[in-house]
Subunit: 407 residues, 2 copies
């Protein structure tokens, strides 16, 4: 991408009402634009980060045999009334709207009901199971407060996966495969070291669920961990019974804050029972399908990664999610000419700052935008066919032969 051709400009200041670091930095660096509290647009750079995060999640889920769909946002209350979840006292984040043709619709805050119902068309025998179905879909949640930038959206992008099984054992087996896949996903996103599987409340049908919490000062969850972080639990389950189950004492635990980037949940019959999702087993007996669900907050992850790696100069993306690998600057006539040539060969992975600005301004923008490697080509570096390459995270600078800069 040529900087001179994009509509984005870096901004000196974020909007005054943007109090969250992730929101302020991502706005100033031209990744997002705020429509209102908890509602953001994704600009070209931001959309690239979102697509990079999606690609990593998709790759890991497809390896497990998951199938991708796209469900609607508009929801028919009929299905949700069967589970009691259309009621605002049960689910307090509904956006509801009136249909011109008559009736009330909801905007999906999650998709257990429609997906469970849809599968009644496709599941009849044990031979149809197991199934794993996911989507990347925009959720709507009518949050009373939304002051955390893209960490808590009223409209946000989520990956939600649902699994369907004939037995609890099969559900358990897949659940642990997803646990491992989530580990790989957070590793690939560059936050593996800071992300912990955390015991959380299991609701009616399971003793526990698991959250994936990324340690973050502004995280909204309070979590507790033991010395080697082999046991991490959400404050909501900090009680004597749970401590006994997990074989830890209260004294061993330290408190910190985390941002929930994922959660996995053994639903069992919670939705398949009221929505009557059944199958015929190999003895010709009708049985209820076991279910699990597995979420990852995609736009929230973008905010968590932004916030996690930011420093006083700006953003610093891990290479796997960065919108571009190289931030290219040519200095002087010869340097600019060679930079143009380099860009021709590396246009996909390069943000070329070809604007008519002083190098210092370009360097400041490169730091704010947080592209992993700044590549500077000047007559001086060209003396031995090289560029000066600066690592955004470490600040380390190396002289690298141009042909050694990989695509």
């Amino acid at each position: 991408m040529r900087f001179s051709k994009t509509f984005i400009k870096t901004l000196r200041e974020a909007p005054k009402d943007e109090t969250a670091k992730n929101g302020a930095l991502l706005t100033r660096a031209g990744y997002i634009h705020k429509e209102m509290a908890g509602v953001y647009d994704f600009l070209p750079l931001g959309l690239k980060v979102i697509e990079n995060i999606k690609a990593i999640i998709r790759d890991e889920l497809n390896k497990l045999g998951c199938e991708e769909v796209l469900m609607s946002a508009l929801q028919n209350p009929e299905l949700w009334e069967k589970t009691g979840r259309f009621s605002d006292s049960e689910v307090d984040v509904w956006f509801k709207t009136e249909l011109s043709a008559g009736g009330i619709l909801g905007l999906a805050p999650t998709h257990e009901e429609p997906l469970t119902n849809m599968l009644r068309t496709y599941i009849s025998s044990y031979k149809d199971l197991p199934l794993y179905i996911y989507q990347f879909q925009t959720k709507f949640r009518n949050e009373l407060r939304a002051k955390s930038g893209i960490l808590r959206g009223r409209e946000f992008l989520m990956k939600d996966l649902y699994s369907f099984h004939t037995s609890e054992e099969d559900l358990d087996k897949f659940y642990s495969e997803v646990e491992k896949a989530y580990g790989r996903i957070f590793d690939r996103l560059g936050i593996g070291d800071a992300t912990f599987e955390t015991f959380a409340s299991g609701g009616i049908f399971s003793k526990y669920s698991h959250e994936f919490q990324t340690l973050l000062p502004v995280g909204e969850d309070t979590i507790y961990y033991n010395g080697d972080k082999s046991v991490v639990l959400n404050k909501e389950v900090l009680n004597d019974e749970v401590l006994a189950d997990l074989k830890v004492s209260r004294d061993e635990l330290s408190e910190t804050t985390g941002a929930e980037v994922g959660n996995i949940f053994k639903l069992k019959f919670k939705y398949s029972e009221p929505l009557e999702l059944k199958y015929i087993d190999d003895n010709n007996t009708q049985k209820t399908v076991y279910m699990g669900c597995y979420g990852i907050g995609v736009s929230r992850l973008m905010g968590v990664i932004a916030e996690k790696f930011a420093d006083e100069k700006g953003l610093a993306w891990p290479e796997s999610v960065a919108p571009f690998k190289y931030y290219l600057v040519g200095i002087g006539e010869e340097g600019i000419k060679k930079a143009e040539e380099f860009y021709e060969d590396h246009s996909e992975e390069t943000l070329f700052d070809d604007r008519d600005l002083r190098p210092g301004e370009k360097f400041a923008d490169s730091e704010l935008i947080g592209i992993p490697y700044r590549v500077v080509i000047s007559s001086k570096t060209l003396e031995n066919g090289s560029a000066e390459v600066t690592n955004r995270k470490t600040g380390e600078t190396k002289i690298v032969k141009l042909e050694e800069l990989e695509k």
Copy 2:
């Protein structure tokens, strides 16, 4: 994709309330699932078709230098009140909803207002123009009736592009570039021959706008065309003044029906004036930005293409949008073994019907699902290392060497 592994099954019958051919066929063939009138889910095959259509549009728009963003669905009334378009009497398809924190929000039926407003942050000088910005985004329209399958959705996927210019000449120039790009897009989608640029009403600021109408018996628009179809116009502009402008007489024109798959519109100052999108020209004078907008109905296109090429046996996708290129069937032990090998090498472009069914049932499904080429491998075809390849559209069958079947 292995048919045995996907949750999709072809259905003998579509839901009783599905009266549209595209809706019924796409449901029976496992591409979509109906949530309610005008609201559909996209299943794995359907999502692939949508992504193929998006990829073609994206490719052509990126060639024009357009930049991709993703705007929010939730809308702040404030902006729309500036153009008078939050009023239900002005725009009669709003879905509106109440924010818990107080106030009314709308669900975007289109995005002129937020995009124009956002660009006030990014446009200040003539040097910032022209700009071309587009998105693939889910629109919400509270249609009173929605009985045309995915041809008219209450929730649907649209590509909307907006352009920003310093002069009418520059707007005209880009407008005609988009006209040509749309021609290429519809050609690549396989409906170029049946899609005509059509004169339509221009609203307040332009004499005409242009629609792209695909001839279709169930199309909702009535259009008129002359002998060589060099003049095509929407019924809404069939009057003496327009006939004089277009230099055709009423007698020359025949009537037919079309489905509007795209429209392009010279907005000029319609939104930039009330939303105060200004720039400083090279004489240091403040001026208002010229705008154009350019839509393509992505999910509607899927319905149009489905309906256009369907026959009594089912769907028949053009290769450019088909979810897979090959529908693979192995017959007999040897045929199945070789089919497995073929699938290993061609898994990306092949739907492998590895179900335990009779060949006749597989053939019927291959016709319903409408994959361009059915590839049958049996001991007979293997006698000379070949497969029997049947073209879905023509019904023509050829014996083709396996190694000649391209990826």
